[in-house]
Amino acid sequence: MKIKVTYFAVFREKAGLQSEEIEFHGLSCSDLFNQLSIVHAFLEKQSGCKVAVNDNLVDWDFKLSDGDDILLFPPVAGG
């Protein structure tokens, strides 16, 4: 499937880009996170990060579909 991934904060800086369209052969957001961590050398643990699909926060086992718009969030630091 073809999906779009947008990066934030340290992920954007490490990936060296704001967003990209990629061909994805896994199932879940967790699979996507593992794949992108290798490609872009992210060191962050998945458990500390968040993911949104089509503007809604979802769990890591959420199943992706063709055309999904994914937001990849590194550990947050509000306040």
Binding site: K14, E44, L57, V76, G78, G79
Partner: protein, 140 residues
């Protein structure tokens, strides 16, 4: 009411939101930009946010506070963009009949905002380096 804003937070304007003859306690928390963090001198910082999701999470947190604690109202504002030392990064106000619920709700809101808002803080140090706080990567 939760709100993200790019311009300076004015505590004076915020205080006007609160008035209720049943209120016996009013507590405000301000998170302020410190000149130090883990032994390093901070010059200024920048908050990046995913606004839509941060606002939706912020609203949820305030709703949870109203459901969990016996309060009359609560309000929170978080800054984005570039902040100087001494600037207010986050402002939380809670109003209640009694102080115990008021302290608890206020504390609940800041703890939840810190871990749930899609906001990232980049600190710029006086030695010219910078760092995403809570991320283990240092960017010079």
């Amino acid at each position: 009411m939760f709100q993200l804003q790019d311009n300076r937070i004015s505590r004076i304007d915020l205080l006007d939101q609160f008035s209720n003859p049943r209120a016996g306690a009013f507590i405000t928390f301000e998170g302020i930009v410190r000149n130090h963090h883990e032994g390093r001198d901070v010059a200024y910082l920048e908050y990046e946010a995913h606004q839509k999701i941060a606002e939706s999470e912020g609203k949820k947190i305030l709703e949870e506070a109203r459901e969990s604690f016996d309060i009359l109202g609560c309000y929170a504002v978080h800054r984005t963009g570039k902040l100087e030392i001494g600037d207010i990064a986050v402002w939380i106000g809670c109003l209640a009949s009694h102080r115990d619920a008021c302290y608890q709700a206020n504390r609940f809101i800041i703890e939840e905002l810190k871990t749930r808002l899609t906001i990232w803080k980049k600190e710029y140090y006086s030695d010219g380096t910078s760092d995403w706080v809570n991320c283990k990567t240092k960017i010079s």
